[in-house]
């Protein structure tokens, strides 16, 4: 409890509160604009946050994440175009409600749903993380290797349409972690005698290249400027009819559970949870035919679920050091930049800092609620994003951000290499999430693997004779094999 109070003391410092507010606002704006996302803001801020106090840096990064998850519903409701895929299902009923002239009601439901999803899920994460970490510290390198391996295969297995390309992405990410000195034996690998490569590739260079630089270049090439706000209706302010809330309490609780659970699984997250909870709400409804016509149930379900996924994703990130998606991978990278080793020992070694992460997310959720309640009338303005102003600033900030890591233009050249790699991956259709996850986990995976073999005196079978490791590896293998078997069976069925 004293750790929580100490963390609260840190959070309530004016500079930290300011970071929470600024981060939440940046995330909210970028999350609302279709084509941009909070992940982009985290990418830009990652190298800059290096110069800040870790508590302030993480208050900023977590607030961007929370704000970004929250903001994406605005585009869904007002334009019928989600800011990010996490609010895709919200378009079905949210936009229908807007077309009926009830945009204020839809936005109000979305606003409250965001808070009801995020805040309790963070509180649950706050309680669950120390418990899970206490169990996780008892695990050996066999289990950690298996856990990291499972996280990557789960992400690969849901690679859109092409698992082989998912594996190519994972292989490339893994390969890039091997540039520089190897763990344990400090053997030089793939540096080609270059001083600049001996330290390996920095997280910021990779993130900026893959996520920001290449996206801006392609948006310019394709002349993508996002939709202009076509909303001409009148917004009256925050108001939710009592029955909209009371009749949806079971729906809210169910959607919260779905979001929390899906958020916990690597590779799933908000983009999946909003669809699953919408489908579940529809299937459990007495009036499923009304879904899609603009009913409150169809907004509560996806918006509570996608925001509950935040808390779900925080649990493996803090308790196990396993990222669930690109954004959590960046946050984990941020921890490494600040010299904090993610994983179960983090909770033990830095309890105040861990609670500070949770509390800053809670604070961001609260600030988000207040800003959305009082700023509801300005939501349409957010969607008229001046891309010609945003993109140049982001591009310059990205390149200067990587410069300040080393004070060397070589870092910018490295970032340019990753921009080129990002463009190639886009051309080749290689998904970025397996790549990033492998890049984040690759180094520690190799350490765990080599330690496991060394501790077992060369005995590889220990990976399968230790129960937890065996279960995790079986899940990993199953996640890859089962979709292939299913596909083959479906093909045979279709042929017969």
């Amino acid at each position: 409890m004293s750790d929580v109070i100490a963390a609260l003391g840190l959070l309530l410092q004016p500079a930290t509160l300011l970071m929470c507010f600024v981060g939440m606002l940046v995330g909210l704006v970028l999350g609302a604009i279709p084509g941009l996302a909070a992940g982009l803001a985290i990418t830009v801020m990652l190298p800059i946050s290096f110069t800040m106090e870790p508590t302030q840096a993480f208050a900023l990064l977590m607030s961007i994440w929370v704000g970004g998850c929250s903001g994406s519903f605005i585009g869904s409701i007002l334009l019928g175009i989600p800011g990010t895929p996490s609010s895709l299902a919200t378009t079905f009923d949210g936009y229908a409600m807007t077309k009926r002239g009830e945009a204020s009601r839809a936005l109000s439901i979305g606003t409250l749903s965001n808070f009801l999803g995020t805040a309790p899920s963070i509180i649950i994460a706050m309680i669950a993380c120390p418990l899970i970490a206490a169990i996780a510290v008892k695990m050996g390198p066999w289990e950690y290797f298996a856990l990291s391996f499972m996280a990557i295969t789960l992400v690969v297995s849901i690679s859109k349409g092409n698992m082989v390309k998912g594996f190519v992405g994972a292989g490339m990410g893994l390969l890039l972690t091997q540039v520089g000195y190897s763990p344990i034996s400090s053997t030089e690998r793939f540096t080609f005698g270059s001083y600049y490569l001996s330290g390996g590739f920095s997280m910021s260079c990779v993130m900026i290249g893959i996520f920001a630089g290449s996206i801006i270049i392609l948006n310019y090439a394709h002349n993508n400027k996002g939709p202009k706000s076509s909303f001409n209706g009148k917004l009256t302010g925050f108001h939710i009819p009592k029955e909209d809330f009371l009749t949806n309490i079971p729906n809210i609780i169910r959607s919260f559970g779905i979001g929390l659970g899906i958020g916990f699984l690597p590779g799933m997250g908000a983009a999946l949870s909003n669809m699953v909870s919408y489908a579940t709400a529809k299937n459990s409804s007495k009036n499923p035919e009304k879904f899609g016509t603009g009913i409150a149930d169809g907004i509560w379900a996806p918006e509570v679920a996608n925001n509950a996924s935040v808390g779900g994703a925080v649990i493996p990130m803090i308790a196990l050091g396993i990222p669930g998606d690109g954004t959590t991978a960046m946050l984990l990278g941020g921890l490494t930049i600040h010299g904090i080793e993610p994983g179960p020992l983090m909770q033990k070694n830095n309890p105040v800092f861990c609670y500070m992460i949770f509390l800053s997310a809670l604070m961001a959720a609260l600030l988000c609620l207040l800003v959305e309640i009082f700023g509801i009338k300005w939501f349409p303005k957010l969607l008229d994003a001046p891309y010609h102003f945003l993109y140049p600033a982001i591009m310059v900030l990205c390149l200067l951000g990587v410069y300040i890591e080393t004070y060397n233009v070589a870092s910018i050249i490295m970032a340019c290499f990753f921009i080129a790699l990002g463009l190639y991956m886009n051309y080749a259709g290689i998904p970025t999430t397996p790549f990033i996850l492998s890049f984040v986990l690759g180094g520690q995976m190799e350490t765990y693997f080599r330690k496991a073999i060394s501790y077992g005196k060369g005995d590889w079978t220990l990976f399968f004779t230790r129960p937890v490791s065996c279960i995790l590896l079986l899940v990993a293998i199953g996640s890859v094999v089962l979709p292939i078997v299913k596909e083959q069976l479906a093909k045979r069925k279709a042929a017969n």
Partner: protein, 150 residues
């Protein structure tokens, strides 16, 4: 050739190059019981070769959508060129002038259809350059490129 096949060939060649470099350039471990620093590069190479071969050999699913079409190719090359020139100028002349020029140019490029006036782009570039300088140098006490030729 279908794009998947091209990607397959590139991936296979990359995997083969990594396997070759690992065998010839990475020292084996002399620690007893340690599988050594070659194992993971070999695993990466194995994944890339196997997946590359699958992509190169299997029948591609449908026609690939063109990556860039017509004028998009020109726009793509222009923005790549602008970024390369910016990096060179940053190295040569430091932060202030190249950043101002880069933001202004990108602003005009992205805002071509909106017909963003030059004065507006210049004002915006000056504001952004100023904000970055104040935030990085004065508030965060960081250094920005000063230029090798100045």
């Amino acid at each position: 050739m279908h794009r998947d096949r091209i990607v397959g060939v590139i991936t296979t060649l990359l995997g083969a190059a990594i396997a070759f470099l690992t065998a010839t350039r990475v020292a084996a471990s002399n620690m007893p019981g340690d599988p050594g620093p070659r194992v993971f590069p070999y695993i990466s190479a194995g994944i890339l070769i196997l997946c590359g071969l699958i992509l190169a050999i299997r029948k591609p699913a449908g026609e690939a959508k063109p990556f860039l079409q017509g004028v998009e190719k020109k726009r793509f090359l222009v923005i790549i060129g602008v970024i390369i020139v910016y990096v060179v100028l940053l190295w040569a002349f430091g932060f202030v002038v190249p950043t101002f020029a880069m933001v202004m140019l990108l602003c005009l490029m992205f805002g071509k259809e909106e017909k963003v006036p030059v004065w507006q782009a210049a004002l915006y570039a000056a504001i952004i350059t100023g904000i970055i300088y104040v935030a990085f140098v004065m508030l965060l006490h960081l250094r920005l490129p000063v230029g090798k030729l100045l």
